[in-house]
Amino acid sequence: MSIEVSGVTKRFGEFVALDDVNLSIPTGELTALLGPSGGGKSTLLRIIAGLESADRGTIMIEGADATRVPARHRNVGFVFQHYAVFKHMTVARNVAFGLQIRAKPAVPFSTTWREDRARINHRVEELLDLVHLSQFAQRLPSQLSGGQRQRMALARALAVEPKVLLLDEPFGALDAKVRKELRDWLRRLHDEVHVTTVFVTHDQEEALEVADRIVVINDGRIEQIGSPDQLYDEPANDFVMGFLGEVTELGGVRLRPHDIDVAVSPGVHGSVPGVISRVLRVGFEVRVTVVPDPVIGAAPAPEVNVVMSRAHQRSLGLAEGAKVWLSPAPEAARARLAAVR
């Protein structure tokens, strides 16, 4: 295990940011801390980095107790949402910063000094190559785009060969297209570099796409830990289910809109009859809204949302006003069971 968080609690005044959090992050994996705003995930990341201190609990990094170690001695790479570039330094000097700090003081122009400089320059070139910024080495950060700045910040964090790389909403300040590009790029970079990486995001799509493992955090507590598939298919509770994708309710059970089978005749036992109130086509998929038939003596059931492919909708000939029978798809069982628990 690369990072071991045990019993960490953190309060800001009355507000409980983290409530007795325990978490192990395995070496070499790309882990996402996912959750809504104010849920405590950024605080947890900052505590791991040493930028914030926990009120209670311990942090172990690669087997060594780091709880009382200041940020600068933790050898942790940190990437900030708003880049935190050193505005007065060129791109190359930004990346070289950590290396220069670590270089032993040497007499200027002495042999050691020259060797150090050559080594640092070489390493900086390597890293700028890695993040595809070689041609911008001598520019100032203000001359770069947001995506380029964040790649520079990443190179800067990687330069010191950190034991773990921590990214706090790294793509949060970028626009949608650049976000997507950088997301793919981060995944590929991680496959190349293999440093233990933890990144914070509130975007479930980002987490599902990039991470090996996802930790869902809400209200200062961990809701579930698992692979993207596990979380999506076997959510531990309502919150995780709701946070990772769309949810609809059918016959008192919560499940995903694409996990509902639609039939035009009452075939399956226990299927719910209803009338289509709306058909909306969005690109390749079709969203169908069904009003369940009222049951005498029971409260009216909420509208059910169903998602299916356009071909499927056509083949069934579904249109507004049509009568349908809805039942949960067999493969959705586990999610449903977890939800009713």
């Binding site: 325990n22 405590g40 914030e52 509770n237 919150f239 919560r254």
Partner: protein, 295 residues
Amino acid sequence: MADTATPVRAPSVARPPTPDTSARGFGGRVRSRVSTLTLGSGLGLGAAMIWFSLLVLLPLAAVVATAAAGGWKAYLSVLTDSQTLAAITLTVGQAGLVTLVNVVMGTVIAWVLVRDRFWGRAVLNVIIDVPFALPTVVAGLVLLTLYGPTSPMGLDFAFTRMAVWLALAFVTLPFVVRAVQPVLEELDTDVEEAAASLGASPATIIGRIILPALAPAITTGAALSFARAISEYGSLVLLSGNRPFQTEVVSVRVLAFIENGNNAGAATVASAMLAVALVVIIALDLLQRMVARRG
């Protein structure tokens, strides 16, 4: 491995993903009330406080202590001495008048600098700062050239109350302008356009949208210029003649006490001036906090 199971909760609606600014805020901005000093910064604070005390706090405390030493009766008798009273009345009156003019003219000048476009505007912008940069005694001398005995326009205001007003207006010129200017620049023109689209006339927009937005800045500038006018000395020395009951301001009165070796009297008047300065500073601090809260 952490336990993933959590107790069942009431079915919660999925919250839409929103930019996670508040979480960052909790981490970065809001701090606990206690001290966050480290060893190095603690030493820095200690050194700075010793320096600040020796230079500012103790001397000002000495003024208050010396003023209080004679007791309440002596204190009041100095302040109500007819010459001192005349100086106080003159200073407060002229400072108030100058502040009033500054509120109007300062806002007009700031408006012209921000919203108007004409040749020479940049020069105007530099001229505003001249009173800040000019030595006060030189300011007095400069005004004497135009409004003194040798005035080419025949305007000899030397040794009159008009001279006091001129000197105070000169040295306090930048305060309102420099307070209002940045706020006016930052002002969202969208709001004005929205008001115009709703049928508001320019006068209504200025009166109901712009001036209320500028009010805190104007107040700040006015308070600063009043405080400065009350305490002004250098620019008046050559210009006003310092005639008792006529053009003698409070600072000159304090200096007269000092030169006569009456430090207690000087401290008495000075402590009253300090009280005014302190009130202004506290008022400004409260105002800024109010504006910050309003966002």
